[in-house]
């Protein structure tokens, strides 16, 4: 189908492209000019081949997602009940629910966001709008890339050493969230910087030539037009923060506490650690419970994300170029 619309143009262009096409184009008469030559047919076959290949790869990509979701739903949904979401675990984790872990993870995510989003966005603004291409900028970029490559268990040890011990926050939400914040900072910085750089340069030129300072330009034109992209970075960060186990394990999350956290210096339960423990360490947990926890973890990410996705869609509707 597609080939029919493309081929005539190809055939017409062939004489100019030289080689086999040129010979065919030159020897054919006027009437035969827009028919496919052997070169065109070969091109069309290659075209179809690659089209199919890329399509197949994209479909393969969604298979694991579907598989994971269906497994979790079939195995985990039976664990869901009102009590599952509102009760603390009881009887050696074999009964009760996940309420404290749910609340604890929310605390961790929110405190981590409060720390990393302002820091990351500010750094990205500096790198995108102010920084000149010099040694300092290159050093910062190198640091960001390396920070992104540090394994999470190393972050965990760093958080333990720096926040828990050195700053003496103890095992607390604050220490765990700061560790998570440092770990996800590169995501926020890189995605924000890319969004800022996607704002057309002509807007900045227009602003500067009207006598606006850099900050006025950023405030009035650059940020309003990149807020939806910045939120994408935040979404990515939320997803990662919710699921991380290692960094919170040493710094703030505990296996069990009957109390909900009252402040950032309390320790807390967390979904990811809870899942890890009941799936591998705690004996005699009913088999549907770990799946139920995993499913709730995914649902939690979805709910947190859809809030910001909704906000993003709303903002995109107001985009003006």
């Amino acid at each position: 189908m597609k080939n029919q619309t493309v081929d005539p143009r190809r055939a017409a262009a062939a004489p100019r492209s030289g080689g086999e096409g040129a010979a065919a184009g030159a020897s054919s008469n006027e009437a035969a000019r827009f028919t496919a030559t052997s070169l065109d047919q070969r091109n069309a076959r290659t075209e179809r081949g690659f089209h199919t290949l890329f399509l197949a790869m994209s479909i393969v990509l969604i298979l694991p997602v579907l598989a994971i979701l269906s497994l979790l739903i079939t195995k985990g949904a039976p664990a869901f009940s009102w009590e599952f979401f509102t009760e603390p675990p009881r009887a050696q984790f074999t009964e009760g629910g996940i309420f404290p872990a749910l609340v604890g993870t929310l605390w961790l995510v929110i405190v981590a966001l409060l720390a990393s989003v302002p820091l990351g966005v500010a750094a990205a603004i500096y790198l995108s709008e102010y920084a000149k291409d010099n040694a300092l900028t290159r050093l910062i970029n190198l640091a960001i890339i390396n920070l992104a490559g540090v394994p999470s268990i190393v972050h965990a040890l760093f958080g333990l050493g720096a926040f828990v011990l050195f700053f003496d926050f103890g095992t607390s939400i604050l220490a765990a969230s700061l560790t998570l914040a440092i770990m996800t900072l590169p995501v926020v910085i890189v995605s924000t910087r890319e969004t800022l750089q996607a704002v057309p340069q002509s807007f900045r030129m227009a602003c500067w030539s009207l006598g606006a300072t850099r900050w006025q330009t950023i405030r009035k034109v650059v940020l309003p037009n990149s807020i939806s992209g910045i939120l994408t970075g935040v979404i990515l960060e939320v997803s990662r923060t919710v699921g991380e186990t290692a960094p919170v394990m040493f710094t703030g999350a505990v296996l069990f506490t009957p109390f909900l956290p009252q402040g950032v210096l309390d320790e807390t339960m967390a979904m990811s650690l809870h899942l890890y423990m009941i799936a591998t360490v705690i004996p005699d947990v009913p088999p549907e419970v770990p799946y139920g926890v995993a499913l709730s973890l995914i649902l939690m990410v979805l709910i947190l994300n859809s809030a910001s996705i909704g906000f993003r869609v709303y903002l995109r509707g107001k985009k003006k170029w």
Binding site: K132, D133, P200, S202, F203, M205, A206, C207, W208, S209, L210, G211, A212, T213, Q216, K220, V221, P224, N225, K319, K320, W321
Partner: protein, 276 residues
């Protein structure tokens, strides 16, 4: 800071020998100006006078330094970081390259119109008021704003088309309207000089005509320097003409004279389309 220039009496018709402007009437005086992008020298000992209240066009082949020269006059080139200059550029008698010159007031005094219309992604109203609000530190009252908007849009012959949709997005306008809006947003802060970098090259012939007429109408109140690739445009819409080649000024003359009796062979070759 220089408030808007005094409107001059009716400008002399093109064709009169007004080439060598006396210092008193020069809005922009460039002397011995050299500019390097890194190691590459883009401008060589450039010296031009732009007469107050006149339209001066800068012509020359691509890469001859016209836009570079234009962008040096509001110092927007400097954001590149690797630009070096020597020499003088005087705006209304003041050297703008002197240390201590603040860029913000300079850019308010020198309005710039770009090749591709670049209204900000705001409403028409906010576009026109953008520079005005910045210049007032954000403290403007509504009645004052209304008056500023109407005056600016009337001046660029856009008021009647857009007066009922000032709140709609500026980027939804036609290219011609966008370019006029880009001119209109300069006017409330009363610049003395308007720099235009091929202001019509993204427009169709009818819109070009309209914008040219607007430029012609603004002359007198503003000193206008236009970079253009379009010989016909330079010929019909400017009082004076400067021909540049390879970073140097070859000829500066009244437009009528330059197009009829160019002094240099290279000018003649260029305007007759033998190169460039």
């Amino acid at each position: 800071m220089a408030e808007g220039t005094q409107p001059l009496p009716t400008p002399v018709a093109s064709g009169s020998p007004a080439a060598a402007a006396s210092p008193a009437t020069a809005a922009i005086r460039v002397r011995d100006f050299n500019l390097w992008y890194g190691d590459f020298q883009a401008l060589f000992n450039v010296g031009i006078d732009v007469t107050q209240g006149k339209v001066t066009s800068l012509i020359g082949p691509s890469g001859c330094g016209k836009s570079t020269l234009l962008r040096s006059i509001n110092r927007i080139n400097e954001r590149l970081g690797y630009v070096r200059t020597t020499g003088n550029i005087e705006l209304l008698g003041q050297n703008i390259l002197a240390p201590g010159v603040e860029l913000t007031p300079l850019r308010r005094a020198v309005g710039m119109v770009f090749q591709r219309p670049n209204p900000l992604p705001l409403s028409i109203r906010d576009n026109v008021l953008f520079a005005y609000r910045l210049s007032k530190g954000g403290k403007t009252d509504r009645a004052e704003e209304e008056q500023v908007i109407q005056q600016a849009l009337e001046e660029v012959l856009l008021w009647d088309q857009v007066k009922d949709r000032l709140k709609s997005s500026a980027t939804a306008l036609s290219l011609e309207e966008q370019q006029k809006l880009c001119i209109a947003r300069l006017l409330p802060i009363k610049p003395s000089v308007l720099l235009m970098d091929e202001p019509c090259s993204a427009l169709d012939p009818k819109a070009t005509r309209a914008v040219e007429e607007l430029i012609w109408k603004l002359r007198g109140d503003y000193s206008i320097l236009i970079v253009t690739h379009n010989m016909a445009q330079a010929r019909r819409a400017s009082d004076e003409c400067i021909f540049m080649l390879m970073g140097e000024v070859v000829e500066h003359n009244a437009t009528g004279e330059m197009f009829v009796t160019p002094k240099h062979q290279k000018t003649a070759d260029y305007i007759e389309g033998r190169f460039g």
